[in-house]
């Protein structure tokens, strides 16, 4: 058992035992050696099942939102989870005193099947929690990398090539909405895709409908994206969804920035919810 697992279990047990929190959100092991899934421990006995190792690929943070009725919730939070907590607060879905953040400086996660580093971790800018009530272990050095490198390579393509690429991508989308359901920015009660009456989009499984869904969802989350990459991880078709997010984050930074990306602060306004009278003018 690694140190992090040990400490997380101890802390979770203590927090549950003394009634500080009603539940602890973390991960537990599945059937396979490296299978991990998000896990909610509600008793000290369940806390002993918590795991915090390099195979905890899933973003656990969103689970907190559905547990708020149960009381204060503790969350084992890496950089991405902590940014998600900020996101929830900025979107007024969570108050700071509703969550106890057990910060866990992230070692970077591995794909349980291949053992390779998860893509969402290789593009991560902020592995240390940006907020926490306590921290498990020592801070890790922040990776120095260009998370837009892939985007920039992609932008070298001609418009026609990009068109072809996205046509392919949207034809491949099965509209399972895993990206939406996993996304910490997607906290709407009723998603626009589920509103037949207005007719934003039809139910047919066509590339056009998928493009509508993909593009609009990207736009809805573009100025708030915390760049956790969970959408891309959960996509059963392994579509490069983060391209659209990185594109917007970088554009917003260039146009209205400096913009560090969403989730760094617990309150807005987000770039598209505000303006400056001297914003760049390109529509004269």
């Amino acid at each position: 058992m690694n140190d992090a697992t040990q400490i997380v279990r101890e802390r979770a047990t203590a927090l549950l035992a003394d009634g500080t929190v009603a539940a602890v959100v973390g991960w537990a092991a599945g059937r396979g050696d490296h299978d991990r899934h998000v896990f909610v421990a509600r008793t000290p006995e369940e806390a002993a099942l918590l795991v915090a190792d390099q195979y905890c690929g899933a973003l656990a943070a969103k689970r907190v939102l559905s547990l708020l009725d149960e009381g204060k919730i503790a969350l084992v939070a890496r950089g991405c989870e902590s940014r998600a907590v900020n996101r929830f607060m900025a979107d007024r879905q969570l108050k700071r005193d509703q969550v106890h953040v057990i910060g866990w400086p992230c070692p970077g996660m591995l794909d349980p099947a291949t053992g390779d580093a998860l893509k969402r971790c290789t593009e991560c800018q902020r592995r240390n929690p940006v907020l926490s009530d306590e921290v498990v272990g020592d801070p890790v050095p922040e990776p120095e990398l260009d998370r837009f490198a892939e985007l920039e390579r992609f932008e070298q393509k001609t418009p026609e090539e990009r068109r072809a690429f996205f046509q392919d991508m949207y034809e491949s989308c099965i509209r399972c909405y895993a990206c939406r359901n996993a996304c910490p920015c997607c906290t709407c009660r009723v998603c626009f895709v589920d509103q037949e009456r207005v007719g934003w989009m039809g139910e047919e499984f066509t590339a056009d409908q998928a493009r509508y869904y993909g593009t609009v969802r990207a736009f809805h989350t573009g100025d708030r994206c915390i760049e956790c990459g969970e959408c891309q991880r959960v996509c059963p078709q392994h579509l490069p969804l983060m391209l659209l997010m990185h594109k917007q984050v970088r554009d917003i930074d260039g146009l209205f920035g400096p913009y560090p990306g969403g989730g760094m602060e617990p309150e807005g306004p987000d770039p598209l919810r505000t303006y400056h009278t001297d914003d760049l003018e390109e529509f004269m």
């Binding site: 090539e161 990009r162 996205f166 046509q167 493009r211 209205f256 303006y275 914003d279 529509f283």
Partner: protein
């Protein structure tokens, strides 16, 4: 009437093969008024653009824009008051930011920039309204119908061959 203005209609009639379908979202207070003024001044412009009145450019939902482009429009134009002149004081500032990001997103996905344009046209700028309609119509005519944007087989094949590599 200057020859140049009537020329557009004559050309439009002669060139029967492609009449673009362009939707213009216009804010009620500036651009729609500018369009009305163009009418009062009997300015002549192509009939391929239809105006959809909204109270403010801030009301234009990018989702409506994308729907229009997917459902058969060859181009979309969004017009509002000049920044600083918004009837509701701030609507067009929000619209500007949204449209700047959304336009880039659509272009990233391969949409030719001409198909989605944004302009600020005040209630007094009837001439600018006319010129914008003329220019946008010309732009779209040059591009042809949306189907003309379909990537060629060669590009698709090349892409498939390199699958997995970004």
């Amino acid at each position: 009437m200057p020859i140049a203005e009537t020329a557009h209609e004559a050309q439009g009639q002669a060139n029967e093969e492609f009449r673009p379908k362009i939707l213009a979202f216009c804010c009620n207070w500036c651009t729609y008024a500018g369009a009305d003024l163009a009418g009062l001044n009997r300015m002549n412009y192509p009939a391929d653009v239809k105006v959809l009145r909204v109270p403010c450019s801030g009301r234009v939902n990018p989702q409506h824009v994308l729907r229009a482009l997917q459902d058969g429009c060859d181009g979309v134009l969004v017009c509002g008051c000049h920044p600083g002149d918004c009837h509701y004081s701030t609507g067009n500032y929000y619209a500007k930011r949204r449209m700047m990001v959304f336009k880039r997103l659509l272009e990233f996905e391969g949409l030719p920039p001409e198909r989605f344009q944004i302009r600020w046209i005040s209630g007094s700028e009837a001439g600018k309204f006319r010129d914008t309609i003329v220019q946008v119509t010309d732009d779209i005519k040059k591009l042809g119908p949306m189907a003309a944007d379909e990537p060629s087989q060669a590009v698709v094949a090349a892409l498939r061959a390199k699958e997995g590599e970004l």
